[in-house]
């Protein structure tokens, strides 16, 4: 019952009670009177009825005005006060009560506002302290997240139900399937891969189930490593080798799994080509050798054979020997081309490498290394740690062997190769000495790796030698001869990892604690559900009169977090003229809609985006009607549960008159940017919705069912479009 009605019932009851008591008193008074007195009294009342009646009416009117005054001055402010105080105490501590009432109410308001100031200041200090304490942990988390995001492998983490809790950019690149096959796609949006979504929409369920069974079997048999592998098809038909690793809690219960995806398309191609190469080589060499062997054996067996036969046989041997030589040369070249394409080394400029060596040589070995001939576009494929160590090792050997402290380093490109020459004044090192060095394990000034110089140089496909300079007198050099990095593609550098200012939004390990979404969403707490908050822009406000959708914007709320990166933003060609007066509202010019897909193309996509989520919109009835009217054309039905922030606001704040987005935002302390674009409004609505959830909880509204029922009862639910 609304407060006003309740009050007036109360007043009526009061008045009736008074009338009843007065009536009883009058009755007793009447019984005390003698018959003559009674007739006299009736006479007096009869003659003066008008005065008695007027007094009675005035009395009642006076009572009524007094009651109304009490209602407005004490009761109404009190009920508003409750809402406003709740607002301060829950979602908007900066909210202050601006209300006129009786003197007592005004004083109460002043005291409340003062207390709110104090609490807010106190809260601010506490939050600041918490913020500082968290900053450090956050930085570490960000390093981890940034590192994960830039891993060369795609990484996905899922809970036991297959909901995605984390994915990095590479995983998105590998697994997100193409959306619109046309010029226009929802910019940046990715309807099929997102936090809280099911992994089974991007990887075949059978593959994962099989892998998980395998893992479970290994875990049961007590194996310590329990990964399973399978190959899946990713975006653009690439082949992904997927490693599935279980995530166990400390009681060794299965808690989820990690998928690590590697693109093996190129490697498989190389492997199959090398395989084919090897097979054809073996076949051809066997053939040629067969000829040679049979010719030679014939000549051995029949030494007296006629000259024409022996000439023939010799010719065969000669030809086949030539052919084998050619085959080997061809195969060697083809093989080295194939192998180079999968060389697992990192690309870096030769200068940078040698500058690193120079710095270390100075601090660790006390040597001076002057670098020259350094062109910026000379690149090498190296494992920088082992190669830096190798060069330092050589410098250290040169220092003890020659007793020198000054070396030059000359970097030079020669055809497909790069020379890194360490030069000095004096005699060259003997190749035998160098060969001894090559057999030693690399160890310099406390740093060591269990590989010999020869292995490291070999790993880089490089050569090393020592000689006297032909051009410079008295100068000797030690040359590291590398294949240069010529292919543009091979020289591609990994992008630099930049730590985001705040925690990246695309992961949330807390989701591990979230139970999977069951079919009966109605009994689930609002805090656990996944929402698609959306808004549409239209050609006008009359859906039934033929107005159409021209833009759909949506964001998702997963685990009570607004996922701004997981958005849907698409213009739609309404296939009818755009009224100029609507342009003023949404700012979408008619030419912006040219070439955009029609609603029939966009809706199926939007439906996939909203799959298994609760739809949320402000004034949802309007947007839902727009979607329903498009149903005839597209055959797409939205059967998701729907919540409306307008209705929820009216449930939470029934005494507040206004429930438009501006008023609600202001009340809840949300600053709105980008209003009147579909995406901007969707984001604002999502922020409003997030603040309304705790306010609903204050009223005992926890589940989806509670929220829907309360909305339905709300006064505004009576509005129908």
């Amino acid at each position: 019952m609304r407060i006003r009605n309740r009050f007036w019932w109360f007043v009526l009851l009061g008045v009736l009670t008074i009338i009843f008591i007065m009536g009883v008193l009058a009755w007793f008074f009447w019984l005390q009177l003698a018959p003559a007195e009674r007739s006299l009294l009736l006479n007096i009342l009869g003659h003066n009825f008008i005065y008695v009646f007027t007094v009675g009416v005035l009395l009642l009117a006076g009572l009524g005005f007094a009651a109304d005054g009490v209602f407005h001055v004490y009761i109404l402010p009190l009920s508003k006060l409750v809402e406003e105080v709740t607002l301060i105490a829950t979602v908007n501590p900066s909210h202050r009560i601006a209300m006129q009432g009786s003197r007592e109410v005004d004083r109460l308001v002043a005291i409340i506002n003062e207390s709110a100031d104090r609490v807010e200041a106190l809260q601010g200090r506490v939050e600041e302290r918490i913020r500082l304490a968290r900053a450090e942990a956050e930085t570490e988390k960000n390093i981890l997240a940034a590192f994960m995001a830039d891993l060369p492998e795609g990484v996905l983490i899922c809970n036991t139900d297959g909901r995605i809790l984390f994915f990095n950019n590479r995983a998105r690149e590998y697994l997100s399937h193409n959306r619109l096959s046309g010029a226009s796609t929802p910019s940046g949006a990715d309807p099929f891969m997102g936090l809280g979504r099911s992994i089974f929409t991007v990887i075949d369920k059978n593959l994962i189930v099989h892998a998980l069974d395998e893992i479970a079997e290994k875990l049961n048999s007590g194996e310590t490593s329990a990964a399973a592998y399978f190959v899946a098809v990713g975006e653009g038909d690439r082949l992904l080798q997927v490693e599935a690793v279980p995530v166990l809690n400390n009681r060794r219960d299965f808690n989820g799994f990690i998928l690590i995806c590697k693109d093996i398309t190129a490697q498989l191609e190389v492997d199959s080509r090398v395989n084919a190469l090897f097979k054809s080589l073996v076949q051809k060499v066997r053939g040629s050798l067969g000829g040679i062997r049979s010719a030679v054996e014939a000549m051995i067996a029949y030494p007296q054979m006629a000259a024409k036969h022996s000439e023939r046989f010799k010719a065969i041997i000669h030809e086949e020997a030539l052919r084998i030589g050619e085959l080997l040369a061809e195969s060697q070249e083809a093989y080295s081309r194939q192998v180079l394409t999968r060389w697992p080394l990192v690309h870096m400029p030769a200068c940078d490498l040698m500058e690193a060596v120079g710095r270390k040589a100075e601090t660790k070995l006390g040597l001076k290394l002057v670098i020259y001939g350094c062109e910026e576009d000379i690149w090498l494929r190296v494992d920088s740690y082992s190669i830096v160590l190798a060069v330092l090792f050589l410098l250290e050997r040169l220092k003890t062997h020659l007793g020198l402290r000054d070396f030059n380093c000359c970097i030079e490109r020669r055809g497909h190769f790069v020379c890194l020459d360490l030069r000095w004044i004096g005699k060259p090192v003997k190749l035998e000495t160098l060969r001894q060095w090559e057999d030693e394990e690399l160890s310099v000034a406390g740093e060591a790796i269990p590989l010999s110089l020869r292995e490291v140089v070999g790993h880089h496909d490089a050569e090393i030698w020592s000689n006297a300079s032909r051009r410079l007198k008295n100068t000797a050099y030690l040359r590291l001869f590398f294949p240069s990095c010529t292919s543009e593609a091979a020289c591609n550098l990994r992008s630099i990892t930049i730590l985001p200012e705040s925690r990246p939004e695309f992961y949330d390990f807390d989701l591990f604690n979230q139970p999977g979404q069951s079919p009966d969403l109605d009994d689930r707490p609002l805090t656990e559900l996944t929402y698609t908050v959306f808004d549409t822009e239209t050609t006008g406000l009359d859906p039934r009169g033929g107005d159409r959708i021209i833009s759909i914007g949506a964001v998702r709320i997963v685990n009570l977090r607004l996922r701004q990166e997981d958005f849907f933003d698409q213009l739609v060609d309404p296939q009818r003229p755009l009224p100029p007066e609507s342009v003023e509202i949404h700012g979408i010019q008619p030419e912006m809609l040219e070439g955009q897909p029609p609603i029939a193309t966009v809706l199926p996509l939007f439906q996939r985006y909203t799959e298994e989520t609760i739809l949320v919109a402000h004034n949802a009835a309007f947007d839902m009607l727009m979607l329903q009217l498009a149903e005839a054309e597209t055959g797409i039905r939205f059967i998701n549960p729907v919540l409306d922030t307008l209705l929820i606001s009216s449930v939470v704040h029934p005494s507040q008159g206004r429930h438009d987005m501006e008023s609600i935002s202001q009340r809840l302390g949300i600053s709105v940017v980008g209003r009147h674009t579909a995406l901007g409004d969707a984001i604002a609505t999502a922020e409003i919705f997030l603040k309304l959830i705790p306010l609903l909880a204050k009223q005992g509204i926890y589940t989806l069912r509670d929220a829907r029922e309360a909305s339905q009862k709300s006064y505004y639910a009576r509005i129908r479009y």
Binding site: A321, G415, N467, F481
Partner: protein, 124 residues
């Protein structure tokens, strides 16, 4: 006077026919089976040309080549490297260490004789 050629090779199935071939072409041929023997032979009597296998036990062909180049008295000796390892990298290394030519195995007899002839009679 016939030019002197030293063949350094540890594989006799190559050494024997090569010797035969060069003798047939009118060169005075001596042989060595490894790098150290080769340097000793050069020291005894410097040849005009050395056919030098790279892959040998003890001192390899690169080292022999370098040792010969380090001695100014032997500056006139031509060096032809022979190797079954015939990548661009090996050729570059051989030439950098002072070889005059690089012939990969398997080779044609004609390639050997042509190279030897070119080095011994052509412009120094």
């Amino acid at each position: 006077m016939a030019a002197k050629v030293l063949i350094v090779e540890d594989d006799s199935s190559i050494l024997v026919p090569l010797t035969f071939l060069l003798e047939q072409n009118g060169y005075e041929v001596s042989t060595a089976a490894d790098g150290e023997e080769a340097l000793a032979a050069v020291a005894r009597s410097a040849p005009d040309l050395v056919l030098l296998d790279i892959m040998m036990p003890r001192l390899d062909g690169y080292a022999v080549c370098q040792a010969i180049r380090e001695n100014p008295e032997w500056g006139g000796i031509k060096i032809v490297l022979l190797s079954a390892k015939a990548g661009e990298m090996d050729v570059a290394k051989g030439m950098a260490l002072g070889a005059d030519a690089f012939i990969s195995k398997p080779f044609a007899n004609a390639e050997i004789t042509a190279t030897v002839q070119r080095l011994l009679t052509g412009p120094a």
